[in-house]
């Protein structure tokens, strides 16, 4: 521990954890380390959940969600190493506002934070992860003034801590809990998160709590009847949205996709496009940002002797339905143009060791996870024929494609959400006459991937190769 991180000051303290600032000795990067006492977790009955949730949390990659870096443990404690967000919690900003004698943020500022909060939740909910403890203390502001949701996936703790709080009222205010959280055993995490977002939005805009918590019994009855009063400064649209967010009946409460359809929400909402680079870092794409997809974690990192292609795992985060904005479009269009221009570089030619190295049977990652499901095809068609075929196949099922040089990235959107499935198809030269196409899953659900391969890709490519086979017996195709 000491040789990996230098522990710094205490950043915060909750009922079951302390959070310290620390420096990663190898990179010099600042991180936040959450330290939990195992004994306490066991007492709370949260030992099983925390394991499951760490596993879920490590897969989350979103610009508005705090990243998990590493987990360590000894006999007594668990250390969760996370991204450090220097701006501190959102409520500091609120305090600053109230010092300036302003009640709450301006509606437009509150809306920006709310949009970022909802887009983080939409992403996580689509992956089956619920927060269950949304409150301003868990919403951090980074140096660009953007919001990041902390403690995603540690929700099991939130639930148990809340139960404790109910009986002991030691810590953790129940203020952000939805009515069903107090009354029911099981509840819908998505709907409870929506309620909490409603309370957050109210606090941000009004600068005070919707339900006064000076009397705990009174508080529960106010929450259960959703009894609150909006300041007269609120716009009609905001009042309407709050009314739907803070609906006491979870079944009739607004859903995240519905929120994203509301006019108040859509105002100035920018689709966030981002991609994950080879160092697993997120890069946002705004109109100004050039899309740099060169990704050397790939099979064949650039080397002076061979020409190179790049792989892109671009995930486009968008709202539902018609919310597509053009923020990232220019960069992407540009990419598409590159693909078939004469300055396309020479095709990477494979040597014998390349063939061996990239063999699936040589991939030890099978020890750790489901196999990447790589497929290879051989064809003697020209590169441009193969690439347009790949684009055509993807187009048939309305998957997005991006082509750069000899690499086609195929992405699917799931439930109108995020690019949930990402597939890469690369083209290599085997011999001067033969070309190898390598297809593998980059992100997303394995079943969905197989379905696409079996129903679309294989039949599509097979027909291409079969056609060749008629003219030239030497070429075979396989899946």
């Amino acid at each position: 521990m000491e040789d990996r991180y230098k522990m710094g000051m205490l950043l915060g303290e909750g009922s079951f954890a302390k959070v310290y600032l620390a420096v990663d000795n190898s990179t010099g990067e600042e991180v936040a380390i959450k330290v939990m006492e195992k004994e306490k977790l066991i007492k709370l009955g949260a030992a099983q959940q925390i394991k499951r949730e760490i596993a879920v949390m490590q897969r989350l990659r979103h610009p508005n969600v705090v990243r998990l870096h590493e987990v360590m443990a000894n006999k007594k404690r668990i250390y969760v190493v996370m991204e450090y967000v220097p701006g501190g919690p959102l409520y500091w900003q609120l305090r600053r506002q109230s010092r300036d004698n302003r009640a709450g943020l301006r509606e437009a500022d509150a809306r920006r934070f709310f949009q970022q909060l909802i887009s983080a939740l939409a992403y996580c909910h689509a992956r089956g992860v619920y927060h269950r403890d949304i409150k301003p203390e868990n919403l951090l502001i980074d140096k660009n003034g953007d919001l990041k949701v902390a403690d995603f996936g540690l929700s099991a703790l939130a639930d148990t801590a809340r139960k404790e709080a109910l009986f002991h009222t030691v810590c953790g205010t129940p203020l952000y809990g939805a009515p069903e959280v107090f009354t029911r055993r099981g509840y819908d995490g998505a709907k409870a998160d929506v309620w909490a977002c409603g309370v957050v939005l109210f606090v941000l805009t009004a600068g005070r709590k919707p339900f006064p918590d000076d009397n705990i019994n009174n508080l529960y009855s106010l929450i259960c009847r959703s009894e609150y009063h909006c300041p007269s400064t609120f716009s009609i649209e905001l009042v309407r949205l709050l009314h739907r967010l803070l609906h006491p009946d979870p079944a009739r409460r607004i859903s995240i996709p519905q929120i994203m359809e509301m006019r108040w929400f859509k105002k100035g909402f920018k689709e966030i496009s981002y991609y994950v680079d080879n160092n697993d870092r997120l890069h946002k794409l705004d109109g100004s940002d050039k899309l740099e997809l060169d990704d050397s974690d790939d099979m064949f990192p650039p080397s002076p002797s061979t020409s190179e292609y790049s792989i892109s795992v671009v995930r486009t985060l968008r709202g539902t339905g018609g919310m597509h904005t053009s923020a990232s479009a220019p960069a992407l269009t540009e990419l598409n143009n590159v693909s078939f221009q004469p300055r396309m570089r020479r095709l990477k030619s494979l040597n014998a060791f390349d063939i061996i190295t990239s063999s699936p049977s040589f991939d030890l990652s099978g020890l750790f996870e489901e196999r990447g499901e790589k497929m290879r095809f051989v064809s003697d068609a020209s590169v441009s024929v193969i690439i347009s075929k790949l684009e055509e196949i993807a187009g048939m099922v309305s998957f997005m494609t991006r082509t750069k040089e000899c690499q086609v990235s195929i992405e699917a959107t799931k439930n109108g959400q995020i690019g949930a499935l990402a597939i890469s198809a690369k083209v290599f030269e085997l011999t001067p006459e033969l070309i190898m196409i390598e297809v593998c899953k980059k992100a997303g659900d394995i079943a969905e991937y197989r379905q696409f391969c079996d129903n679309e890709l294989k039949p599509g490519l097979r027909c291409l190769v079969a056609e060749i086979r008629e003219n030239n017996d030497a070429v075979e195709c396989s899946a």
């Binding site: 596993a55 360590m72 000894n74 974690d297 080397s303 290879r376 011999t431 075979e476």
Partner: protein, 215 residues
């Protein structure tokens, strides 16, 4: 470290196995990561024979979800992992071998491991026949059918690039030069996954037997 810690560890999850603190010292892995690897080792080594050692069948089962699948490379890797050459992989061998695949392990170690892997007959050279055999094996496994001529052509081409003194075999220095020029060849010597294992297998957090002072 030292006596006190190994006693503590014996009481912990991995009784009878090497002390994670020592393994962490010798490898790129942290103590927690070694404990995660122990969870993984436990799973694999109990999948068939339940004796806390990884047998070849268990290794194949873990890699291919199939214990009967004959595979040249799984065999080769198993043999290289089996440092003591006693037909099974114990926990220490498992950790030290996987260390080669850690993203932060020096390239030179990976290059050397790959050489031993490809030197099928252990002659100290990668011979033309060995390379031919491997390419054919790989192509067969992937059901890619290429004519003998095409395979010959590919192997010839590769030897032209790698066998600098044209003696028909690749020696360790030629391999080093070739691998440095084509870093993509070492791609399968790195498992990016090893950087994230503490989060992917958080089971260890409640089982950790490591003392306070060792983390």
């Amino acid at each position: 470290m030292g006596c006190a810690s190994s006693k503590q560890f014996k009481r912990g999850a991995a009784a009878g196995h090497e002390d994670p603190a020592i393994l962490a010292k010798e490898t790129t892995f942290s103590v927690s990561e070694v404990e995660v690897l122990y969870e993984l080792f436990k799973k694999i080594s109990h999948s068939i024979f339940k004796d806390g050692l990884i047998h070849k069948e268990e290794f194949q089962l873990a890699l291919f979800r199939n214990s009967n699948k004959k595979n040249l490379f799984a065999d080769r890797i198993f043999d290289l992992f089996d440092l003591k050459r006693n037909g099974v992989i114990d926990f220490g061998e498992f950790v030290r071998s996987l260390d080669i695949f850690h993203p932060e392990t020096p390239l030179a170690d990976k290059i050397a491991f790959a050489f031993r892997l490809y030197d099928l007959r252990g002659t100290g050279f990668i011979e033309r026949e060995e390379l031919y055999e491997m390419v054919v094996a790989i192509l067969n496994e992937s059901d890619l059918l290429l004519s003998d001529d095409a395979v010959e052509q590919i192997v010839d081409q590769t030897f032209k690039q790698a066998d600098l003194n044209s003696d028909g075999k690749i020696d360790p220095d030629e391999w080093k030069a070739f691998a440095r020029k084509n870093p993509g060849l070492l791609k399968n010597m790195t498992l990016p996954y090893l950087k994230d294992i503490t989060m992917a297998f958080p089971n260890f957090v409640m089982n950790s037997g490591v003392g306070d002072e060792e983390l």
